[in-house]
């Protein structure tokens, strides 16, 4: 089985600061990471390959600087990487990423594409199902258990939905998006980290795609979320507790 697994190289949201007055975001000294749920996607691809053989390639779309992500991704087990990059591939909105991936992957051979359920920066949750639609292949989203039925060339996916758990069969080629509880991504070993640098990387450029990708969603502003809170801190003394309880009574919170 040929598996492609997509990941996004994102700012670590924990490092982003919010300016006190302007509420603008400060990205100084912000680290990068493979988006959290995409680590589950990579792990699931590698797990299936260990069971059924075949190959796993990781795919990402980004600016040339995102090249640094490939070693991290490849150290997690995939055999090769497909790096779709251009200096203009920054702050892409979901429909752009979908279109770019669809154009690049339509030239690849695959049986199964695995994506995370949403990225930890925008969490738009669109790239998986949108890509499936553009490629004209079936998809199952929100999957927390995945098995491959080799005989029928289909997957059996357990989807965790709002009001039910639904088990579906999906003929290959297909795409799934996975939830974080599908597996526990393994920490790469030193040997894997060292080996990652030697794995092949296929560069796909904007020229090769031969298209322009205009945004359909335009960002007007991004500002830190504000919350009006009192920020009163207390110790553990009975007097402290009394002040808090009196305040709650005054608020009419305690009936």
């Amino acid at each position: 089985m040929k598996i492609l697994t997509c990941f996004k190289w994102v700012n670590d949201e924990a490092d982003i600061k919010v300016a006190a007055n302007s509420h603008e975001l400060i990205f100084d000294r912000v680290g990068y990471k493979i988006s959290d749920y995409d680590r589950n996607a990579i792990e699931e691809a590698v797990r299936l390959q260990e069971q059924h053989g075949g190959s796993v390639a990781v795919v990402t779309v980004g600016a040339p600087a995102a090249k640094q992500s490939l070693k991290d991704a490849l150290s997690r087990g995939p055999g090769k990487a497909c790096f779709i990059n251009d200096p203009s591939f920054v702050n892409l909105e979901p429909s752009q990423t979908i279109a770019i991936l669809a154009d690049a992957l339509s030239k690849q051979e695959y049986d199964l594409i695995i994506c995370g359920e949403g990225s930890s920066d925008l969490y738009a949750q669109q790239v998986g199902p949108g890509l499936a639609e553009k490629l004209g292949i079936p998809c199952a989203t929100n999957v927390n258990k995945l098995t491959y039925n080799e005989g029928n060339k289909e997957i059996i996916a357990e989807r965790k939905l709002d009001d039910c758990v639904e088990v579906v069969t999906v003929p290959l080629p297909a795409l799934v998006t996975v939830l974080p509880d599908i597996n526990a991504p393994r920490i790469p070993t030193l040997k894997q980290v060292l080996g990652a640098a030697k794995k092949p990387v296929e560069n796909v450029t904007l020229d090769a795609l031969g298209q322009n990708y205009e945004p359909r969603l335009q960002t007007i502003s991004v500002l830190g979320a504000t919350m009006e809170r009192r920020h009163l801190k207390f110790g553990t003394e009975p007097a402290d507790i009394k002040v808090i309880i009196d305040a709650l009574l005054k608020e009419g919170i305690l009936a």
Binding site: Y123, G130, D162, V165, R216, R229, E251
Partner: protein, 319 residues
């Protein structure tokens, strides 16, 4: 023509919320309000709640998932060219919206929690949370239809308008889906609906073992509240049912009082509780981010503080 504000949600409540969301907008833009319905009875009902036209979807077979309607909805939208399309942001709704947007070559704002109409450009300025809830992104969709998925309970239910009349249009059956359902288990409601709770005592990683949740339960019962938790307590440790974890990927709650016990306050959790009226946090780490989100913070060991809180609340509430 059917152009106008379109609405699709997988259940009645969310459809009525979206009808409410679309009502003023349809008025401002001078267009119809159009909703999808899954049954004839719901179709009649949606008209009484303010819909001008209802697009009735024929029933699915046992093995067809709800997502099988995507091609039917796409075709209807291609024919009618709606101005705006709101879809209820359930998990299925988000998948369907994305696939519809991809087919229609338009943009989609996921989990839009507020919007305003730019009168001049006739564009919706839509707000959504990004970076785990740390920031608010405002977007406009420059292609038609302008699409958004809207989370449950973002809007009130639309008011009933007994005299309202509307038209029902029957759509064609969904084509067979390559994705086939082989089993479906409805989730058993293991716990109370935490989104309705007035007081929530929330358990975080600072609670050392499962048995200690009893302490949270005691505090909650004295206050007439309910116990919830952060994601790891439900998803990793399975100490509490998934229905009660709060956060960006869990429940979004609006209690009068939220009490966090040993909750560190990761931004993903804060996003689920940010609409709480009052936040009280107890954590022994004075630098825990929960204190940035709290009205009242107690820096101390929850195992010392909670029994004292229980005693003090009991005295005040005369239990």
């Amino acid at each position: 023509m059917m152009a106008g504000i379109w609405i699709f949600a997988e259940n009645r409540e969310q459809t009525l919320e979206l009808i409410n969301a679309g009502w003023n907008l349809a008025d401002e833009l001078g267009v119809n309000l159009v909703a999808f319905a899954l049954t004839e009875q719901l179709a009649q009902e949606y008209i009484k709640y303010g819909t001008d036209e209802v697009l009735l979807l024929p029933p699915l077979t046992q093995e067809q998932p709800l997502e099988s309607y995507v091609p039917v909805i796409v075709e209807a939208a291609r024919n009618a060219d709606p101005d705006v399309f709101f879809i209820g942001a359930t998990k299925r709704g988000k998948e369907m919206a994305t696939r519809i947007a991809a087919s229609l070559n338009t943009g989609l704002a996921t989990e839009c929690n507020a919007f305003a109409l730019d009168q001049e450009k006739k564009l919706l300025v839509m707000e959504r949370m990004i970076y785990g809830g740390k920031a608010v992104q405002k977007v406009v969709c420059t292609t038609r239809p302008q699409m958004a998925t809207i989370p449950a309970r973002t809007f009130e239910l639309a008011p009933l308008q007994e005299a309202k009349e509307g038209k029902i249009i029957r759509l064609t059956a969904a084509p067979p889906s390559p994705v086939k359902i082989i089993n479906r288990n409805s989730k058993v409601q293991e716990a109370v609906d935490i989104t309705e709770a007035k007081i929530i005592v929330s358990v975080g990683r600072g609670v050392e073992k499962k048995e200690d949740i009893a302490l949270a339960q005691e505090l909650a019962s004295i206050l007439g509240g309910t116990v919830g938790c952060s994601r790891p307590i439900a998803e990793e440790l399975h100490w509490l049912p998934e229905e009660v974890y709060m956060g960006i990927s869990g429940k979004k709650v609006k209690p009068d009082l939220y009490i966090g016990l040993g909750v560190s306050g990761q931004i993903q959790h804060i996003t689920g509780i940010r609409d709480s009226k009052i936040i009280l946090a107890i954590n022994r780490d004075e630098n825990a981010p929960i204190f940035d989100a709290a009205d009242y913070g107690i820096v101390g060991d929850l195992y010392d503080v909670v029994p004292n809180l229980i005693k003090a609340f009991s005295n005040v509430l005369k239990i």
